[in-house]
Amino acid sequence: MATRVLLLVGTRKGAFIAESDAARAAWTLRGPICEGWPIHDMGVDAASGAIYAAAGSPWYGPAVWRSDDLGVTWTHSSAGLTYGDGGPAIPTVWNVTAAHGAVFAGVEPAGLFRSDDRGATWSHVAGLTEHPSRSAWQPGNGGLILHTIVPHATDPRRMWVGISAVGTFETRDGGATWETRNRGVRADFMPDPNPEFGQCVHKLVGAAGEPETLYQQNHCGVYRSSDGGATWDEITAGLPSEFGFPMVAHPRDPATAWVVPLNGADRGRFVPDASAAAWRTRDRGASWERQAAGLPQENAYLGVLREAMAVDRLEPAGVTFGTSNGELWTSADEGATWHQIAAHLPDIWSVEALVVEA
């Protein structure tokens, strides 16, 4: 049986798919697909093998695209992806995540939608936008966006979502009601730096095999929660910057995660000292190691956005990130060494990894 490794890359001008075998040394690239639509995120339904893409066209509006043949042919729909005739328009879909037989979409302005027919039709998970804090939600630099969806590994009634400049919420009743999950997370840009909500979560990720362990890259630091988000412990110490966007977790080891720190929110949002690196913890954030072998170490004015990093499930795990200037970098040895897959793609907004046994 042959192993196919696919990297699903969302860009400002369509999606691309890089493909390799288990060695992950030589790659082919195809695209642009999804008709060149801006793609904020791509997700995989492990149960069906379907690929989804979260998109918004400046001309034709929002849609979730779906492919059942590993990205060769696509359909798309936005049926039901609306706040209704009197509600605000939805320009784009920021996240698409499949779990427990359903597909979820996070949109702008921030809200959550659910599909039970594989993306053909959508319904609004109104409980989130009915949260009492909703009238006080303010957009971040990227807009008022629900950009992260973390389903509970085993309990379909539980889920966490991340909304920029609003924070993390959890539901334990299938979306009917939601609670803020920001205790311990700083919001240094607010008059009160420890509010109930208003924290600028950049990315949430769940730890393998430990449903109550979450990691978070925030505008103001990196955090770990061991109690399902009820409280957060800061784990920024050892990193060159508290600021960054992506965070990914190891597919098997709940103590291992990666971030790509950037120099600061008001300093250009480049890799520090224009020297590219991923940073890995193998002890739940107690310490961090810089991983830069093969990455450009000078004059690298790179940024990596929140969705533009992914980990595959092979042993050792592959780690990939895409940059805001269209470079795609991958490591087949958990970040020890890196090589470039592509150098001249459009601005990369998302990366997802898929391993297929064919």
Partner: protein, 87 residues
């Protein structure tokens, strides 16, 4: 039956759809509804929530800028044209 001329970027979203279609309808809104009946989903690409033509699309009837209520004569030509924008 009006003749509707669609942009390449729109027909590319619906395999088999041709750039020129003949569609029934006495107004632009009815023509779009007629298109959607034939090509399910195309209405969502042309119309935003609340029943408005999407902000960056323009519709012309016989060369004149049109809205949803603009009458469409049986021999009219309706153009859907994306705004020239982007980078």
């Amino acid at each position: 039956m009006a003749t509707v001329v669609l942009p390449r970027s729109l027909v590319a979203l619906f395999p088999g759809l041709e750039r020129r279609c003949v569609v029934p309808g006495a107004t632009v809104a009815e023509v779009i509804a007629g298109l959607d009946a034939r090509v399910p989903g195309i209405g969502d690409r042309l119309m935003a929530a609340g029943g408005a033509i999407r902000e960056h699309l323009n519709v012309f009837v016989d060369g004149e800028r049109a809205g949803l209520t603009t009458p469409v004569a049986p021999d009219a030509v309706v153009h859907v044209i994306p705004a020239v924008s982007g980078g």
